[in-house]
Structures are given as C-alpha cells and as structure tokens.
Symmetry: C2
Amino acid sequence: MAVRWDAPLHDDLRLVEEEIARSVRSQQPLLTEIAMHVIRAGGKRIRPGIALLAFHSVGGTDLDRAVKLAAAFELIHSATLLHDDINDGSDTRRGEISAHRKYGVHRALITGDFLFVQGFRLGGEAPEIIGIVADACVAMAESEMLQIEEERDSETPLETYMSIIGGKTARPIEAIAQVGAYVGGGSAEDIAALGRYALNIGYAFQIVDDILDLTGQEGRMGKPLGMDILESKANLSLMIAMQGHYPGSERIREIFQKGEKTAAEIDEVLELVRATDALDVARDHAKRLRDLALASLEGIPPSIYRDSLVALADSVLERSS
Amino acid sequence: MAVRWDAPLHDDLRLVEEEIARSVRSQQPLLTEIAMHVIRAGGKRIRPGIALLAFHSVGGTDLDRAVKLAAAFELIHSATLLHDDINDGSDTRRGEISAHRKYGVHRALITGDFLFVQGFRLGGEAPEIIGIVADACVAMAESEMLQIEEERDSETPLETYMSIIGGKTARPIEAIAQVGAYVGGGSAEDIAALGRYALNIGYAFQIVDDILDLTGQEGRMGKPLGMDILESKANLSLMIAMQGHYPGSERIREIFQKGEKTAAEIDEVLELVRATDALDVARDHAKRLRDLALASLEGIPPSIYRDSLVALADSVLERSS
C-alpha cells in the first residue's frame, strides 16, 4: 500500500489528541495519569480516523465539532478498554502493563467511568446524536453480556458470533461514521453509505483480530497468543475448526469447554486449528466484508478522503498486530 | 414529622419508576435483571425527589422532561452504586446480596456501564444541562480517587473530608436540584438557592450516613456496622475521635492505620468512639448544615413542594438507616 490511510488526517488527528488531553485533565492527577496510560496504549486511532474521513468525504466544514466528536468516541472506546481489561484479567495491552495491574482495579474502574463521562460530555456538543452514541454503547454492553453467556459453548452459531462482534466492534464503528457524515452535512444517502462501509469494516476488523489471536507474531494487542482459547471466547476461525469435521475438531471442542487450560493445551489447539483451512475460510470472509465496505463507497464523490477510506479498508486486511 | 417529604410526589415518582423500567429494558434479559436488582435496592429515591421538588417549587410545568431528568439521575446513581460495591467488595446492599456477589464482577461492571449510558441518554433530553451532569459525575470520580488516596491516613484534614463527601454526595445532589429548578423555569436566583439547599442537604446526609456506620441498628444500607473502620475510610465522627485528645484517640489511630483488622478491633474502635463526644459533635455539624439548607429556601415562595423540601431536610437528620 503506497499511502498510509491516515496521511490526510495528520493535522486533524493532532487536534483530536489535544482535545483528548484537555478532556482528561483533572484535579486528581492520578485520574489523568491512568487515563493517559490507556489512551497512549490505545493504538491506531481508527475510530476518530473513520469519523474524520466520513466528515471530510462529504465535504464537512465545521472541523472543530468533528474533532470534538472524534475525541468523544476515542474517550468512550478507552473507557471500554479499561473495563474490558479488568473483566478479562488482562496483564498487558499493546505490550504495556494493563492499567488495573499497574494502578489497581479500583482506580482503573473509576478512571473508566471518568472517561465515559468525559466522552458523553463532548458528545453533547452535538446533542441530536446522543441517541446514536448511546445506542452504540448499549450494543457494546449487550454484546459483552452475550459473549459471557456464550463462553465455553463449542456450538455457538455463526449468527450469534456476528451479533457479538457486531455489538462489540462493528456497530460502534458504524455509529462513528454516521455521526462524522452527519456533522459533515452529508445527505441521508451519504450517511447510510458511510455507515454501511464502517459496519462492514468493523466486522472485517474483528474477524482479522480473531485470526491474529491464533497466528499473530506476538498475539493480539501485545497479548499472548491464544487468549480466546484460554478464555473460551467466540472466535470465528476457532468456531470453524471446532464445528467442522476436521480430524482435530473433537479435541479442540474438548479443550475449549474446559474451565482451566494448560499452556500445552493452548498450544495443542493452536496447532490443530492451523492444520485446518479455518484461518483461510475466516480470512476469505473478512475479504468479502472488505469488498462490501468498498462497494458502499460507490456513491461518495472521489477525494483524497475517499481514497483514504479505501486504503483503510485494505489496511484492515493487512494488519499484523 | 407529620407528613412524609415525598407525599406530594406520589404520582411523579411512579412516572420516574416507569421511565427507569423503560430505560433498563434490553435485548439481554440479564442486563435488565441486574439493573433492576440494584435499582430496587436503591432506597428512598431522594435524588429524583429533590429534582422534582426543585422543579415544582419554582412552578415548573414540563413534567415529562422533569421526570426524564429525575430518572436519568437515578440511573447514573445506580451505576455508581454497582461500581462502588465492586470496589468496596461489599457483600450486601440494603440487606440484599450485592449485584457483583450474585451475578459476578464482570456482569455487574458491564451493567454499571449500561446504566451510565442510559442515564446520559435521558440526560440528553435537556442537552444544555449535560455539562452540569458531567461535572457532577467527574466530581464523583475525583472524590473516589481522593478517598482511595486518603485511606488509612489518620490525619486527613477536615477540608479534605469535606472535599471527599462534597464530590461523592453533596455536589451531585446540588446539580440535581439546579437542573430541576432550571427545567422548571426558575430564575437564576431560584436555581442558585435550590442548589445551595441541596448542597448543604447533601453534606448533612453524608455526615449522618457516617454516624450511622458507627451507631446504626444494622449499620448503613443494611451493611455491618463499622465498615469505614474496616476499610480505613474518612468518616467525620471517627476523624474527630481519632484526631482529638480523648483517652482512646491513640488506640483508634493505631487500629485505623492497620491493613487488616479483626472483628474485635472493629468493636473496640466502636466502643472508644462512643465514649467520646465525637458523634454529638458530628451531629451538631449536620444540624448546622440542615439549618443552612433551610435558610437557602427563604426566597422560594410557599407551596406544598417547599414544605416538602423542609420536611426532607428534617428527615435527613432523623433517618435511622
């Protein structure tokens, strides 16, 4: 890929970082420190990036408002990262020690609440979209709950898996694009098209994320490989390998359903999954979603921002961490 | 007290309950169940009550909006109860098993996030007050953080104590009254006066809460007596007894600073505190705050709602659980 997807957003994303830094200032320096700990570990700013690309691709002019909303989404996303890491008992995030391990569960939980509030405060800059943001947050909570219910179920249907990753990743990203396009003054068609683009990108992103948990260099987000096996979580490649009629399927199911697993058992499942074509099938699925995302952009007029949306779609398939 | 403070709110509070029930409906029945578990245990609805009394006392007419905002505050309050109980490791709330003990920390934490989001969604009904709500939520998070920092400090200054209970209880209640009066169409003076009333009520409420932790029939909120001793938390009577020159002061400090305490040590501190006049001094302090609250109502025209605000102020001093 010649050009990085975020190249035309260089200045905008700096404004988003400044807005985030302002939002996490607090009389309690530790709140700010913990918030910045998770925000710095937060990665590639795909969420604010999509908001801004959607905004620009429809010719938006009120950049200040778009920046505030992009920052709002990143604050809310960071809140969920803090709470997710507590729930998953994760020791690391992107190779760094996780906030609750460094600062304690109590402080990390409160900082998550603080980030939620500051995100919603910024979201109030465009009060007519509070409902969209709230819907996305509710979808996240509902899918978290569904994911817990499905743990250790080796027969989770594909539709349930799509519901889980839809609520967790795809629908929030859809909301972000819709809001970006709305604030940019896009037509109802533009808003719907960019929402569809982002929804499909979100699904593809999460499926690739699941693949990386089984094949990545260092696992996903700097975590050890095979976390979904360890935690018996729905993961597309794993489900395909487990629910198919491969030689290793029964053994994968057996280990997946156990409450506790040894490191040797995790490695065994990784080997068994890689011996199937499940990873390829999952990757093909992600590619089809990427193609659906690209098709959604057909009605959006050509611009460097539309090019970036295309580049972002490709980068989701190509990412290695 | 002849009349219950909430007598004129009977119908309004029913509408608030209905709004809350609507807001916690979810595709995931467990989210609704856990939300209702904590909401049912939430007690006397003082927060929505104050919002509605402030609204009516300035002659408010848009009841639907006031009800939604009152429900929003109760949803956000319930979110903080869920997260607080996780942080405190509380086994019970108002004599019932706490949500995280019954449903697990993971599910309780997510339900707290869900309630935050639904509270902010309803708060968006009056977008111009999102800032006030967010400020109150930030004050709560900051005071939680301050409270953690002060744990086991036997020399916490009175001002720091007032900051902690201000952020935790008094400032959020102040915000609730201000918003109620604002939505009711009150003048700037009315809004400020009702805010002052509520701020002082909030302080008095928390000081009485602290007294109940040391003297109540069954402790506070159905929890065992002496939780603040066990957890080495700032508590006004305890601080007075510990920082004064009473015969038992040194021994109280000694136990308070310990990381782990036995049941016998908790009982010993309870005895030592009761042997001082610290509880009376704290109660006098709460009474002065009640009087300040009542004085703030002078400019509010007489009505059954103003009478209720007076009755509420008295009930805060008289409550026994």
